[in-house]
C-alpha cells in the first residue's frame, strides 16, 4: 500500500486530498505526533475507501482515536445524502450497534466510604450485572418480547420499573430510535438477544465507579453535577448478540444489494444500499431495533447499579443519569451544508454525537451548554467528560471521538500481560478489579490503549468538544 498524502489544514486537522474514485476528500483530526504514528496505517486507506461511496457529503472523517476497522475505520464519521443516491452501510455502523456509554452521578454516598468498600462494591456489581462471553442475565425474554424492547428502547425498561422518566430525558434520542422496526430482525438475533438484557458482555465493555479528579470548567461541571471529588459510574456496553446478529445478517444482504445497485466496493465490508431502497430501509429499521435493545440494556444496568448502591450504602444513595450517548449508529439528521439545511444519513462508527450549544435536540438542561460527551480511557487511568462544540456541527456533522483507541492488538496485550498479576497491579493504584475471565483482563491492560488524554486534547484544540472534567476509576467490572 502506498503512503497516503496528508495535508495539514489546521492545528489538529489534516486532509487526504481527493484522488481516484474518491467523491470527497478525507479529513483526519489528529496531532502531528499522532499523524506520524498513523502514516502507513490501513485506517487511512479506509478513510479514502469510504469517500468513494455514493452520495457522500463533505468529507470522509477520521477522529483522533481512529484505528483499523472492518470496511469503515473505527473512529470514522461519514454522511450521505438520500436524495443523491446516498447509501446506508452496516459496516459503517459496526457489529455492536449502539455500543455506547452512560454516565451516572452518585449522591448520598461519601466518596471516602465508597473507596474503602471498593472491593465489595466491584464484586456486588459483577454479581448483579453479569459480564463475560455470552453470559445471560436475570431477565429472560421470549423472542416476541424483544419486539417490544426493539420498539421501546429505554422506555420499555422504565415502564417495567427499571428507572425513571427523568432517565429517558437524559439519553440521546431520549433512549429510543423511533424509526425502529423489529420485523426484519432475524430469529437468530432474537435467540442471541433474549437472555442478554441487563448484561455487560466482554471485550472493551466495562462498568467503573469513579471519582471526579480534575475539573477544567467549573460552571459546566456544576451544571452536569460533577463536583471535584464526587462519585460517578460509567457504563460501557451495547446491543450484545442481538446487535451483532443484525449486523451479520445485513452484511450478507448488503453484499448482494451492492451488486444489484451497481455500487462499486473497494472492500466488501463497505457493502451498502441506497438509503431509500427496500434493503436500506429494512436495515435502518432493524438497526433501530438493535439501538433500542442497547438503550434498554444500559437502562436495566443502571437500575441494577442503583440496587447495589442502595443495598451497600443505604436508601439515600442515588444515581442520576447525566447522559447516555451512542457510539455505533447511523441516523437521519439535519445539517447545514453550504448554507442549506439537508437531511443526511450520518454514520458514526466508534464516534460520538457532539452537538454544540443551542441544538434543538438537546434536553433543556444542556441546551445552552452543548451535549455531554464521555470519552473512556482504560481501566488503569482515566476517562474524560466533555461538551460538544459548534465546530463539531460545522465541520464533523456534530461528532467527536469515542475513546482512546487500541495501541496493541489483543494478542500483543496478552503477551505483555504474561507472568503479571494485573488485578494486583491495579490494586496498587487503588483500583479494585472484578472480571468474569482472566483473558479479558490481559487483553484490556492499560498499555493496550493510547493515552486518552492525547485524544481529547485534539478534539478540544479542534473545537469539536471542550473539556469539562477528568474521572478516575477505583472499582472496575470487566467481562
Amino acid at each position: 500500500m502506498s503512503e497516503i498524502a496528508l495535508e495539514r489544514v489546521d492545528k489538529a486537522e489534516w486532509e487526504i486530498p481527493r484522488t481516484g474514485a474518491m467523491r470527497v476528500p478525507g479529513r483526519v483530526y489528529a496531532s502531528a505526533d499522532m499523524i506520524e504514528e498513523l502514516r502507513g496505517d490501513p485506517c487511512l486507506e479506509q478513510v479514502r475507501n469510504v469517500a468513494t461511496l455514493p452520495g457522500i457529503v463533505g468529507y470522509s472523517i477520521g477522529m483522533p482515536d481512529i484505528h483499523w476497522g472492518y470496511g469503515f475505520p473505527i473512529g470514522g464519521v461519514a454522511a450521505f445524502d438520500p436524495e443523491d443516491q446516498g447509501v446506508i452501510s452496516p459496516g459503517g455502523v459496526g457489529f455492536d450497534i449502539n455500543c455506547g456509554v452512560r454516565l451516572l452521578t452518585v449522591r448520598g454516598v461519601k466518596p471516602k466510604r465508597a473507596r474503602q468498600h471498593r472491593g465489595e462494591l466491584a464484586a456486588e456489581l459483577l454479581r448483579a450485572i453479569p459480564a463475560g462471553a455470552g453470559r445471560g442475565g436475570s431477565l429472560k425474554l421470549k423472542a416476541h418480547e424483544l419486539d417490544h424492547v426493539g420498539r421501546g428502547g429505554a422506555a420499555w425498561a422504565v415502564e417495567r420499573g427499571f428507572g425513571t422518566e427523568d432517565d429517558l430525558e437524559h439519553c440521546e434520542e431520549n433512549g429510543c430510535a423511533e424509526w425502529a422496526d423489529p420485523k426484519p430482525v432475524s430469529a437468530d438475533a432474537r435467540v442471541r438477544g433474549a437472555p442478554q438484557l441487563g448484561t455487560l458482555g466482554s471485550g472493551n465493555h466495562f462498568l467503573e465507579v469513579q471519582t471526579v479528579e480534575e475539573v477544567f470548567d467549573a460552571d459546566a461541571a456544576a451544571a452536569l453535577d460533577l463536583e471535584l471529588g464526587s462519585l460517578t459510574v460509567l457504563i460501557h456496553t451495547g446491543s450484545r448478540g442481538f446487535g451483532h446478529q443484525v449486523c451479520d445478517d445485513f452484511l450478507e444482504r448488503m453484499v448482494a444489494a451492492s451488486k444489484a445497485y451497481g455500487i462499486e466496493l473497494p472492500d466488501q465490508q463497505l457493502c451498502s444500499a441506497p438509503f431509500v431502497s427496500y434493503e436500506g430501509q429494512q436495515y435502518f429499521g432493524a438497526m433501530g431495533a438493535a439501538m433500542n435493545f442497547a438503550f434498554a440494556n444500559r437502562q436495566v444496568i443502571t437500575h441494577r447499579v442503583r440496587e447495589v448502591l442502595a443495598n451497600r450504602f443505604g436508601p439515600h444513595a442515588e444515581a442520576r443519569v447525566v447522559y447516555d450517548v451512542c457510539h455505533n449508529v447511523a441516523k437521519l439528521e439535519t445539517h447545514r451544508i453550504d448554507g442549506k439545511e439537508r437531511e443526511l444519513v450520518v454514520h458514526r462508527k466508534g464516534a460520538t454525537r457532539a452537538f454544540g450549544p443551542g441544538h434543538p435536540l438537546l434536553p433543556d438542561a444542556y441546551r445552552e451548554l452543548g451535549q455531554p460527551v464521555f470519552v473512556p480511557g482504560d481501566m488503569g487511568r482515566y476517562s474524560y467528560v466533555l461538551l460538544g462544540g459548534r465546530a463539531a456541527e460545522e465541520r464533523a456533522f456534530g461528532s467527536c471521538c469515542h475513546g482512546a483507541g487500541r495501541r496493541l492488538s489483543r494478542n500483543q496485550a496478552r503477551k505483555r500481560a504474561r507472568g503479571r498479576n494485573i488485578p494486583k497491579e491495579l490494586a496498587s493504584l487503588g483500583i479494585s478489579l472484578q472480571a468474569a475471565g482472566r483473558r479479558t483482563v490481559e487483553e484490556e491492560i492499560s498499555e493496550a490503549y493510547k493515552d486518552v488524554a492525547e485524544v481529547v486534547r485534539v478534539v478540544d484544540t479542534a473545537g469539536l468538544a471542550r473539556l469539562v472534567a477528568r474521572v478516575q476509576p477505583f472499582a472496575v467490572v470487566k467481562g
Partner: protein, 140 residues
C-alpha cells in the same frame, strides 16, 4: 496447522492444510482452540450438527463456513469440536457433520467471546505447491 495473527482490535486466524477438506477440518480446531485457549472441553455427551455451505468461490464458501461454525456456538449453544467433511466437498459447495460439545459442558468463563465473523481480508485459496490456506478475522 493454524495460528493467531495480530490485528489491531480483533483477531485474525490463519489456517493451512493439504487440501480443501483438511482446511475446513483444521479450521474447526482453530475455532475451538481460539475460543477455549486453555484446551477444548471434554463433553459428557456430544451433539451432532450438519453444516452445508455454498459460495461462488473458495473465499465466499470459507466465510460462510466460519459463519456456520459461529452460529452453532452463538445460536444453537453447541461448541464445534471436530468436523467430518463429505468426500464430494468442493470450494463451491461443502457438507459436513460437526461434532460439538453442549454449552453446559463448556467453561464459558475461560472462553473468548467471538461475536461475529467478518469479511475483512477473508481469503482462502490453493498455493502453487497445492496446499490450501485461509484467513479470517473474528470480531471479539
Amino acid at each position: 496447522m493454524w495460528r493467531v495473527e495480530d490485528h489491531t482490535a480483533d483477531v485474525r486466524l490463519h489456517v493451512e492444510a493439504d487440501d480443501w477438506r483438511g482446511l475446513l477440518e483444521e479450521s474447526v480446531a482453530a475455532f475451538v482452540g481460539f475460543v477455549c485457549a486453555e484446551g477444548p472441553p471434554e463433553p459428557r455427551l456430544r451433539a451432532m450438527r450438519k453444516i452445508e455451505v455454498r459460495g461462488d468461490d473458495a473465499a465466499e464458501t470459507w466465510v460462510q463456513w466460519w459463519r456456520a461454525l459461529l452460529r452453532l456456538w452463538t445460536v444453537d449453544g453447541v461448541l464445534p469440536l471436530e468436523a467430518g467433511i463429505e468426500d464430494e466437498a468442493t470450494p463451491e459447495h461443502t457438507r459436513a457433520i460437526v461434532r460439538c460439545a453442549k454449552e453446559r459442558d463448556v467453561d464459558t468463563a475461560g472462553c473468548a467471546d467471538v461475536k461475529a465473523v467478518t469479511r475483512h481480508g477473508a481469503a482462502a485459496g490453493r498455493a502453487e505447491d497445492g496446499r490450501w490456506s485461509g484467513s479470517i478475522v473474528l470480531d471479539v
